[in-house]
């Protein structure tokens, strides 16, 4: 078999080198270069997010609950024009809920959707239990209404009523 000229291999080698340098200095991700670390940490607890709609603010309870006892009706974030993964990451990865971060979340959901509806923002936590089952818990974080944002009073936020 004839040997290939070295030029394609050299160029590929340089691309590979750039790939290795970029992913090794940027936590495995420098698009489109990646070490594809998704799902590499198996068995870890996870946190996602969802929205429910309640008829009025008074019907809201702030306790952590199960899906069966969920407060309100689940809202399809797709119907709001929001990407679920974005929404979920925004809620679950934000450590410090500043006023601007809360405003950004309302902006993402769309103020027009909150004008005549009461949305409860939930964090959802999943983990494996010792009895070999998956436990999923729903914790209300905020209530978004037309002109109000209320934070769960039982959680450790820096402020109580932001808006």
């Amino acid at each position: 078999m004839k040997k290939t000229s070295s030029k394609p291999l050299k160029i590929l080698g340089y691309m590979l080198l750039v790939n290795v340098l970029l992913v090794s200095t940027h936590l495995g991700e420098f698009w489109p270069f990646s070490i594809y670390p998704m799902f590499s940490q198996a068995g870890n607890p996870w946190t996602r997010a969802m929205i429910t709609e309640i008829s009025d603010e008074d019907s809201l309870t702030w306790e952590t609950t199960s899906r069966e006892a969920l407060n309100g009706t689940p809202v399809s974030v797709k119907s709001l024009g929001v990407d679920q993964i974005d929404y979920s990451n925004f809620v679950s990865k934000t450590q410090n809920w500043t006023t601007s971060r809360l405003e950004a979340l309302r902006y993402m959901i769309g103020e027009e959707h909150i004008q005549d509806r009461n949305f409860v923002i939930f964090k959802v936590n999943g983990r494996l239990s010792e009895s070999d089952s998956v436990v999923i818990e729903y914790t209300p974080q905020f209530l978004f209404a037309a002109d109000t944002t209320i934070l769960n009073p039982y959680l450790n936020f820096n402020s109580s009523v932001v808006k």
């Binding site: 078999m1 198996a42 996602r48 119907s79 929001v82 990865k93 601007s100 950004a104 993402m108």
Partner: protein, 298 residues
């Protein structure tokens, strides 16, 4: 060294005489990549209009404040310029750097769109393809050399990506990664995503089966891990067709068990994994010869 020689001979096929069918296939492949990239640019661009905050800077956004792409129409201008550049580049009108510039614009669109926490990988192969086409056009002039480098390098990075994903799992968790209970946890996570996205979710047949039995869930994960690990077999012509079939099966399994779709990724795997020039030549032996006339567009 024999392994290295084998890899480069398999990837770049220096002894292969290209025929018209190869060039027809190449332009179909390039059309797929270009149209997917244009679609992503507009899709991401339109969504970026809704973003007003940076949660997680990615790529060049680590060095450039990407918020300049937010709260204005720049993502749409970016998509428009990208579409025009790729359109010209597809017909080889203009400078050979057009795809290179387009790649940079694509990167900026990605990091602007995904600055709020998500790091999706479904578009990575399209991104690599634009990069490899750009590199091939810049460094090679002869159509056959461009063809061989572009397809060879894309196949190389596709194989590397899968094997790298498997190694990440083995490093991150170990061989215990295949424990079926891990799949239960992911089904719960992805089920929650569907519940949030659609407002309702209940497990499908495969998910129900996995949730009922740890051994079944373990076998599903084991098949997935093995398919990924052997992704490097894409580099070899004799094994390419078999491993690409296993990888497509794995993606179908991921879609059914975890509701994660990699449509463009799978479509591109189908294009690069099978001997389409051979099929084109067999189906249209006379017409495929006209493909030689496409060399000025390679």
């Amino acid at each position: 060294m024999r392994v290295l020689d084998s890899i480069k001979n398999n990837l770049f096929q220096p002894d292969k005489e290209l025929e018209g069918a190869h060039y027809i296939f190449f332009k179909i492949f390039e059309l797929f990549v270009a149209s997917q990239a244009i679609y992503l640019m507009w899709y991401w661009g339109l969504y970026t209009l809704r973003i007003s905050d940076v949660v997680l800077p990615l790529g060049l956004a680590n060095y450039v404040d990407i918020s300049f792409m937010h709260a204005n129409n720049l993502p749409l201008w970016n998509a428009g310029i990208f579409s025009a550049l790729v359109g010209f580049a597809f017909f080889r009108v203009g400078n050979k750097w057009l795809y290179g510039i387009a790649f940079l614009l694509l990167h900026f669109q990605y990091v602007a769109r995904f600055s709020i926490g998500e790091i999706p990988h479904s578009a990575n192969l399209i991104g690599f393809s634009i990069l490899c086409i750009a590199t091939g056009l810049i460094f090679f002039e002869a159509p056959d050399k461009r063809y061989k480098f572009i397809l060879g390098s894309i196949i190389f990075f596709a194989g590397l990506g899968y094997t790298s994903a498997a190694i990440s799992k083995l490093i991150g968790t170990g061989i215990n990664w295949v424990d079926g209970r891990h799949l239960w946890l992911w089904i719960g996570e992805k089920g929650t995503d569907i519940l949030s996205r659609e407002g309702a979710w209940s497990p499908n047949f495969l998910q129900s089966l996995a949730l009922k039995s740890i051994p079944i869930a373990t076998i599903i994960l084991m098949i997935g891990l093995l398919s990924e690990f052997f992704g490097f077999l894409l580099w070899f012509r004799k094994t390419r067709m078999f491993i690409v079939t296993a990888l497509i099966g794995m993606h179908i399994g991921i879609t059914l068990s975890m509701n994660i779709r990699f449509d463009a990724f799978v479509a591109e795997l189908i294009l690069i994994g099978y001997a389409w020039p051979f099929v084109i030549k067999k189906l249209w032996p006379e017409k495929s010869a006209y493909g030689k006339k496409l060399t000025r567009f390679i």
